[in-house]
């Protein structure tokens, strides 16, 4: 009976080793690892520099603009998707090899009112729609999309900025970015 237990443990250990090897080989061959949801080629990852939020013609409260920028930095860092997250204008990012620049532009903003929400439940929602784009230094767009966020029930209006940043970070995290080297090569050809 004791011998049979030992056999079971041996089989299990071999299985664990095989699974571990398969994960490791998948990572080194440059596949998208859904477990960690981090795209990595060898040990390199993209770095990202977050530009200041543009509001264009939309009447966006300037305080909200600053809040979106700061929340974006926090949320992107929290995803651990990028090697480094740089602030706009940071000179240290210039030495970064594989750098993507994140630009966010607010397309639509409805300020809403927390008191209206509390009184009526159905009215006073704070809504925001923004488009984001991840670009290389040469201006090649790697990823772009449109993201919405809103506060419909409870919470301050400012909460919408965090929701938006979280949605953008989530969308980037779940996307498949091209390999940094390939992008650079194609950029050289063009």
């Amino acid at each position: 009976m004791a011998a049979s237990n030992k056999d079971v443990f041996r089989v299990l250990s071999v299985l664990v080793l095989l699974v571990a090897q398969s994960f490791a080989s998948g990572r080194h061959s440059g596949t998208f690892n859904k477990g960690s949801r981090a795209w990595s080629i060898g040990d390199t990852k993209w770095s990202v520099q977050v530009e200041e939020v543009e509001s264009g013609d939309v009447h966006l409260d300037p305080v909200f603009r600053v809040a979106i920028y700061e929340h974006l930095l926090t949320e992107l860092e929290r995803t651990t998707y990028f090697k480094d997250v740089w602030r706009s204008g940071d000179r240290l990012a210039d030495s970064e090899g594989d750098l993507l620049i994140l630009k966010v532009k607010v397309n639509k903003f409805d300020a809403g009112s927390e008191t209206k929400r509390a009184v009526t439940t159905v009215a006073g929602a704070t809504k925001i729609t923004a488009e984001f784009g991840l670009e290389t230094r040469r201006g090649q767009t790697v990823k772009k999309g449109v993201v919405n966020a809103d506060v419909r029930w409870f919470g301050e209006n400012m909460k919408v900025t965090r929701s938006l940043a979280r949605n953008i970070a989530s969308k980037i995290k779940n996307s498949k970015l091209p390999e940094p080297d390939v992008t650079r090569t194609s950029a050289r050809v063009h």
Binding site: H59, L60, V66, A67, E70, D90, A111, A118, V119
Partner: protein, 224 residues
């Protein structure tokens, strides 16, 4: 010569009797003695231009005095403290941490209740934006309490349980040029005082339209 015990000088300045009709101002000096004396009165005429000039000079001198004393007052008030709540931005202070924001000399100093201090040079500040906000008070407990009130009574409470406050967003550059943004929450009306204080330290004021259509003031550094 009679001894004069009491001399009363009374200056009566006659205002212009009618606009554009009288060109001079009359000054009468009356001298009284113990014995009733013959009232001496004399008058002289001052051209209106000279009177206006003297008034202007007087106003100028008063203005200069106020300016001089005002500088002293400003020097005394160089250190001004505001009780604020850091909404977000500073890495070494917890979000939502209450503390004191002080403007002293050329530094913006924030100290929270955990004695963590953050210093920002006023010269590095790029913009200051003031915005008026409105929120419900009481947080989650109040919200749950309102939900528990029967017949929708909580909604009525919501109508009165809100307060106005000022949000002030400051963007500045760190040593490497990276842009940081910090947002402070102040009691209603305090934001304007902080804004004026920063303006007094050499910032320029711009105007930016807020989401509500009202004009928010944005202050940008003139040195940039």
């Amino acid at each position: 010569m009679p001894q004069l015990r009491q001399i009363t000088n009374r200056c009566e300045t006659h205002e212009l009797l009618k606009r554009n009709s009288v060109k001079i101002a009359r000054v009468t000096i009356q001298m009284r003695s113990r014995k009733p004396m013959k009232k001496k009165s004399f008058s002289f005429a001052v051209p209106i231009q000279q009177a206006l000039m003297s008034a202007a000079l007087l106003f100028l001198s008063i203005t200069l005095c106020v300016e001089a004393f005002g500088d002293d007052a400003a020097a005394k008030q160089q250190k001004c403290t505001f009780q604020v709540k850091a909404v977000l931005g500073f890495s070494n202070s917890n979000a939502g941490g209450a503390g004191s924001l002080t403007v002293e000399h050329d530094l913006l100093r924030f100290e929270n209740k955990k004695q963590q201090v953050t210093l920002v040079s006023l010269a590095s500040i790029e913009s200051v934006v003031l915005s008026e906000q409105n929120k419900q008070v009481g947080g989650v407990p109040m919200t749950l309490g309102k939900a528990a009130v029967p017949f929708g009574g909580g909604r009525v409470v919501s109508l009165i349980s809100h307060k106005k406050y000022d949000d002030i967003a400051i963007t500045y550059r760190d040593q490497d040029g990276g842009i940081h943004g910090v947002i402070y929450e102040l009691p209603a009306g305090e934001g304007l005082k902080l804004e004026k204080l920063i303006v007094s330290h050499g910032m320029h004021v711009g105007t930016q339209v807020s989401s509500n259509g009202a004009a928010d003031q944005e202050i940008s550094n003139g040195s940039k």
